[in-house]
């Protein structure tokens, strides 16, 4: 295809957008509504995912070491743990350090524990983080079998519950996003079909004077692409304002280590990119689908 032919298709596509008046408006509105819903779901879903990831990262396995272990055996145990597949981080904390932490964390009440400083009832402990939080329970089982391990602790029940919540929200989110994308495609393809139906005589004539299918299709594909991109503008603007507001005002009121909203800056641009891309794709797909039938001349 020659450059000027590409230019011609672009010009024709643009002209059609202007020429089709309220049909353009209807298509753009259809895309706007669906992309807005889709965008909101994307924002929510990605944030839930992020909460999940934060939580997962906080999961630590505590390995309490038998008091009978000598310093040498303690060191060996550390090396064995480090070699277990899936272990990514290992931190050692002696029972004295543990007690100090405990006293500090309890503040005034901690003073009561001071009396144990002579006769420390705590254990030396290793803190293990896994490369993938989903390996936690497996690694924990493995740790239980090691020598000199007196107890292995991690939030078993909590982790399982958490993963369930994250998984469900992920799947529901995916299903919704997929469903909405298809609805949008269907809507835009139907809207464009009406505009194309009004022009089926024109398409027939174009074919009869020797136009190839692609020569006819390109302007429609570009028209669809433009409709999709225009349809993405309003949702992006609304989501940008909405999210900035939520991030600046709501977020500081929540004091939690893991319920943290994703920072506005790169996140919102990614969302905008995705919405434009999806808009463009459903627009092009919609017009390609709706023109198909009319090219058989």
């Amino acid at each position: 295809m020659k450059l000027r032919t590409i230019a011609r298709h672009l010009k024709e596509g643009l002209k059609n957008v202007g020429r089709n008046g309220w049909m353009t408006f209807a298509s753009v509105s259809a895309v706007t509504v669906t992309l807005l819903l889709l965008g909101v779901f994307l924002v929510v879903m990605l944030n839930i995912n992020n909460f999940g990831r934060n939580l997962e990262e906080d999961v630590e396995i505590k390995v309490y070491v038998d008091l009978t272990a000598t310093d040498e055996q303690l060191r060996e145990l550390g090396e064995t743990i480090r070699d277990i597949p899936g272990v990514s981080q290992l931190r050692y904390s002696s029972k004295d350090e543990e007690l100090k932490n405990l006293i500090n964390s309890l503040g005034d009440q901690g003073k009561a524990w001071s009396m144990f400083e002579q006769e420390n009832p705590l254990y030396n402990a290793y803190f293990v983080k896994t490369s993938d939080p989903r390996k936690t329970s497996k690694v924990a089982e493995r740790l239980k079998t090691l020598d000199f391990v007196s107890e292995v602790k991690y939030g078993e029940a909590e982790i399982k519950r958490l993963f369930k919540v994250v998984d469900i929200s992920r799947n529901v989110g995916m299903a919704l996003v997929l469903g909405l994308s298809f609805t949008a495609m269907f809507l835009i393809s139907n809207t464009i079909k009406i505009t194309i139906f009004a022009r089926r005589r024109e398409i027939e004539i174009m074919k009869l004077v020797g136009a190839t299918n692609w020569f006819i299709r390109w302007p429609f594909v570009i028209e669809g692409l433009l409709l999709g991109v225009f349809g993405a503008v309003t949702p992006i603007a609304l989501i940008y304002w909405g999210y900035s507001y939520a991030y600046d005002t709501v977020s500081p009121m929540i004091d939690s280590s893991f319920i943290r909203l994703l920072p506005t800056e790169p996140f919102i641009y990614k969302i905008a990119g995705v919405l434009i891309l999806i808009g463009a794709l459903i627009g092009m797909w919609g017009s390609t689908m709706s023109i198909r039938k009319f090219l058989k001349v």
Binding site: M1, K2, R4, T5, R8, R19, R201, E202, E204, I205, M206, K207, L208, V209, G210, A211, T212, N213, F215, V297
Partner: protein
């Protein structure tokens, strides 16, 4: 060269429009297709540029076998032909100029050549002054002349015309026939369905008469043969 062998055409509604046609039209010939209304002239013509496919039989045009031609090759067949449609088939939203230019745009002709050729043929059909009008603003005769201009703009090897003078006044009719004779003299094959006895009897050419979907007469330098 145009060749039809044992061609039959039955429309979906059951009408047998063409019933066994065998014909050979050599390059550079000028052929009138005559016959009463409903005889099958338009169907005969439509099969040449593949608007209709024959139900059986073979059609060859310039070595292209239309019966085995792949769907995506059809545009290239149509570009080698010029077609004047009985119902003009002009694009309503394009200007006269753009309508004629369209046939050259699809073959990706350069803008310079498009402009030159389009103005040339518009001048030939005497409609240069209407270049910026929309088809809907023109009379039937003027639309027909635009359709003629478009059909010859790409200098086709074969010109197929379905009653191209049906809507023209006598003066314009003779002007158009002059153009056809002129491009025929330059080597273009012309197949023209017509009801105009005066033309057929004055500008003597080969006459193929179709009745009931069959060729009933085929004469070199024939006459119209029907009462007006």
């Amino acid at each position: 060269m145009i060749e039809m062998q044992d061609v039959y055409k039955q429309y979906k509604n059951g009408v047998h429009a063409i019933n066994g046609i065998n014909v050979t039209i050599k390059s550079g010939e000028f052929v009138y297709v005559v016959g009463p209304s409903g005889a099958g002239k338009s169907t005969f013509i439509k099969m040449m540029y593949r608007e209709e496919k024959p139900t059986s039989g073979a059609i060859l045009i310039n070595g292209i076998n239309l019966t085995t031609l792949k769907e995506r090759k059809v545009p290239y067949l149509r570009r080698s032909l010029g077609v004047v449609f009985q119902d003009f088939k002009l694009l309503p939203r394009l200007t006269v100029y753009e309508n004629v230019a369209y046939a050259l745009e699809v073959i990706e002709e350069s803008p310079k050549n498009i402009k030159r050729r389009v103005l040339e043929v518009l001048d030939l059909v005497k409609l240069k002054h209407r270049a910026r009008s929309l088809p809907g603003q023109l009379s039937g005769g003027e639309q027909q002349r635009i359709s003629i201009a478009r059909s010859i703009v790409n200098s086709p090897k074969v010109l197929i015309a379905d009653e191209p003078t049906g809507n023209l006044d006598p003066d314009t009719t003779w002007d158009i026939m002059e153009i056809f004779k002129e491009i025929n003299n330059r080597g273009t094959t012309i197949v023209m369905a017509t009801h105009n006895r005066e033309i057929v009897n004055t500008i003597r050419q080969r006459v193929i008469a179709i009745e009931g979907g069959k060729i009933v007469r085929d004469e070199m330098r024939g006459d119209y043969g029907y009462e007006a």
